[in-house]
Amino acid sequence: MEHKIETDFMIINMGPQHPSTHGVLRLELKTDGEIVMACRPFLGYLHRCFEKHCESLDYLKIIPFTDRMDYLASMNNNWAFCIAIEKLMGIKVSEKCEYLRVIVGELNRIASHIIAFGTFGLDIGAFTPFLLAFIQREKIFDLLEEASGARMLYNYIWVGGVARDVDGDWLKKTKKFCQEFKPALDEVDELLSLNKIFVERTANVGVVTKEMAISYGFTGPNLRGSGVNWDLRKNEPYSLYTKFDFNIPVGAGEQGQVGDCWDRYIIRIRECRESIKIIEQALEGISLEGDIYETVPKNFNKMPKGEVYARSETPRGEMGIYVVSEGGKAPVPYRVKVRSPAFCSLSILEEICKGVMISDVIAILGSVDIVLGEVDR
């Protein structure tokens, strides 16, 4: 009998209560010292069965529930759902509403990206950029609160319109914010992006190649970080995005390889700048005349029979809403399925967390930018 001396692997549960899993995600890490041999994510701690809820709620009542999926970008969730229902019902929304949607959607995108790169910095250990960026997020929330009445869960974008009108004063405040935001973002950028330690920690870590990114359903900033020039706002324009002039930042591997954590991080900072551009153009174009409730359907008793898959670009990527309607007099959807971008992005974790260090797992998780409310729904 021969005995081989083997060192044992250690199984560590990272989460559900862990500062860096961005909510209640559990990662089962099989580690050899500091090296992670395998990583298995366990989800579902925040599962609320949104899709089951939808099957017993009116279309309008579902919108507050969509807020709670990706609670960092509620506006974009509302919007995604409304796009699907409007497509189903054949509603054309007035231009004023579309402008308002673009403005609040892009403001919310900035707020969400601030969380994304702020907490990414926090995971890497830099506390100050996170809080400096948060000041700007607070300002955005003040604006959105004034427009919609709530700070995070807005219920603002309705099927066929928006919930509340804005006044000229609000537009002026938004404009002022846009001007103040740029130097503040530059400061955070300067503080963190090129910091040697930060670059060392994030460049060449968690590299996702183009093919892998597409196959694993990466969308949004993650996909662009891998060097794919793809943005639904540009490539499959919805709403008024054809009217605006903006660029799509694409990862180029400036500090390391294309598709590493640093690329995914910098894309978000650059996207904030593009969003500001869009908001400024929208503020130019909007006119305050017109009724925002004009196309809001009075009731949902005469839905067409059919199904629709509508996708739109939320800060985390492509959110697809698949709605099946029975038609006739049923005012509730037969089935709603949400293609959550964070859920799909997270599925790559098992693949790229092999042979990296524990600290890198944190960096990768932070750079993929998940929101557990959306992953579990």
Binding site: L43, G44, H47, C49, E51, K52, S56, K87, L88, G90, M212, I214, S215, Y216, G217, V228, W230, N235, P304, K305, G306, E307, V308, Y309, R311, E318, G320, Y322, V324, G327, Y334, R335, K337, R339, F343, C344, L346, S347, I348, E351, D376, R377
Partner: protein, 175 residues
């Protein structure tokens, strides 16, 4: 490629037995829908492989996999998109309710792994040859598949009250 061309191409490759029919908007009782192709559920694995790797089709992105409970049958709906060719198609695989088995596509698209697990979790549709066939959102020992229309919510699970009783006599109990 238009849906008709895709349908013809698939039919040519796999034959009528596996590729059943193409539905366009305002057909088969639909007022609104994306064009979709009904296929034989067990043919899904080779079909996915062909859809992704064929030069003309090149469906490299699997947007969404959703289960639908059709009361008599269970259906898996694949929304596919090609980033290089910029065309999309919807594939539907309908399986029998008493023994729903669909061929897996997890070897073709990475994301399908989790999306199929979610479909199994919620609808109890089995995916043949799936590499990691576990529940994903619910616990392993959860009974039943919540998104099926005939699902009954359990009162207790592992001794915990999961569906609290509504306050008596309130308006909320009417629903």
């Amino acid at each position: 490629m238009t849906p008709e061309e895709i349908f013809d191409k698939l039919k040519e490759k796999f034959g009528e037995g596996k590729i059943l029919r193409l539905t366009l908007p305002s057909q088969n009782g639909f007022d609104v829908c994306d064009p979709f192709i009904d296929v034989e559920p067990l043919a899904m694995t080779e079909l996915a492989d062909f859809l992704k790797h064929d030069k003309d089709l090149a469906f490299d992105q699997c947007c969404c996999i959703s289960g639908v409970d059709l009361k008599d049958d269970l259906q898996v709906v694949y929304h596919l998109f090609s980033m290089s060719k910029l065309h999309k198609i919807c594939i539907k695989a309908t399986a029998k309710r008493d023994n729903p088995i669909v061929g897996t596509t997890a070897h073709t698209w990475g994301v399908a792994n989790w999306l199929e697990r979610e479909t199994w979790d919620m609808f109890g549709i089995k995916f043949k040859d799936h590499p990691d066939h576990r529940r994903i959102l619910l616990e392993e020992d959860w009974e039943g598949f919540p998104l099926r229309k005939d699902y009954k919510f359990p009162r207790f699970w592992r001794g915990m009250e999961v569906t609290p009783e509504e306050e008596e006599g309130t308006y909320g109990t009417q629903d």
